[in-house]
Subunit: 219 residues, 2 copies
DNA sequence: TGGAAAACGGGTGTTTTGCCCGATTTTGTA
DNA sequence: TACAAAATCGGGCAAAACACCCGTTTTCCA
């Protein structure tokens, strides 16, 4: 990779956070924010338009499609450099994001300098994980009770997240642009893989595994 | 209130967000950030030390003590002006924060300008609520589930508790010595009364209303 | 580039749901 | 005590959802 200007697309739904990125990144001589998006849809669109060298994205987007957005962008451009920068310290989410094609995962608990370093790392093709996430992944893989959830495919995980926030099959189908029938089948497979027999158990499990936090679905 | 310099204490556990505040607030001629805290403990300490005119705080702090911190500070200084600025759009959280003594509640979904206005409002003694929160609170108190849940009969409430701990209709029928059909009918009536359309929403609602606590399903 | 895994979605019999109804049993209160 | 109102119980039935099967296409790596 070259050491020239790094053109960055910011994806975060909170304007104040984007202000923060700007203040921070524009101090770096060779970083340049070419565009900002506040939703997954917009991110995909702007990525195609601007072709940035690097994409910094939060996962909690209004259309709930953080990981899905990574998949879409990577499908369109497998060489895309995507760095996840989010508050979620959950190793499950981190590993799904990486499975989906992210090249880095840094939590917002880290100091700005860590983000800066990660940007350089990812830009040079080095996978960047913040220490807290590395630790969480390590702990999880040793004694993790979340074994079954890891068997889920990226798509299944995505659908799980939507299902447990009480979206209907039709809504999910709409969001993901697939048939409601596929959603239903996938929903069934998720339940079978996780060994639960109804949606209530599934919800409890999702909360327990911090796939969602209790209250996330309260509007 | 005077119109002089507003001395602000920032409380947010994410450095990048604090960068965002800085970039934003320092553009305002009469706002001045006197200190930053990244935990509730630190916030309390710095408040005593700096006596700011206004405190902007996020609720999701590492020591999980956002609302608790508000209480502590208000106890120490009842005149403290506290403006909550958080991602939580939950009306229950908002009302608890206000009960605890916050004089404003703005979600991070809002544009920076909304925050700026709220700062002026709170500084002048006007309660500031962002529109999304106003709406959420209104919905919640008018047609809200808090009311609806009280409409449940004793039997319905009993069945609700069993349902949301993931017991099957057959099991519940067994426990209560009634027909599974009655359980199913009752289950349906509960959902109708509470205005939810599936069991996942029902589960979330039950957790939110503390019919069962989230800890009950953890492990 | 070939083979495995994942994603997608049709088909179909079985359950469950949503909503109706009437029959009993409390319950509150005049 | 009387008696209406509310709560409880459960049958019926069409519509919807589910569980499970399957084959096809797409994606991903080695």
């Amino acid at each position: 990779m070259n050491n020239r200007q790094i053109n960055i697309l910011l994806v975060d739904d909170h304007a104040i956070v984007r202000e923060g990125y700007r203040a921070l990144l524009e101090k770096q001589p060779n970083m340049n924010i070419v565009a900002e998006a506040s939703s997954g849809e917009e991110a995909y669109f702007l990525f195609k338009q601007y072709r940035p060298n690097l994409l910094i994205m939060d996962l909690s987007l209004p259309d709930q499609s953080g990981i899905e957005t990574i998949s879409r962008i990577k499908k369109y451009e497998p060489a895309a450099n995507i760095l996840v920068f989010t508050m979620h310290q959950n190793p499950l989410i981190a590993s799904k994001a990486i499975q989906a094609g992210a090249r880095g995962y840094i939590t917002k608990n880290n100091l700005p300098a860590v983000l800066i370093q990660a940007i350089y790392d990812v830009h040079c093709g080095v996978m960047a994980l913040s220490q807290d996430i590395e630790k969480a992944i390590a702990l999880d893989s040793v004694a993790g009770p979340a074994v079954a959830i890891k068997e889920l495919t990226v798509r299944e995980f995505e659908i799980l997240r939507l299902v447990v926030t009480a979206k209907s099959a039709a809504e999910i189908a709409e969001i993901l642009n697939i048939s409601p029938k596929t959603v239903a089948n996938c929903h069934y497979l998720i339940k079978r893989k996780l060994g639960v027999s109804n949606d209530i158990e599934l919800t409890h499990l999702a909360i327990k595994m911090q796939v969602i936090d209790p209250g996330e679905c309260l509007q």
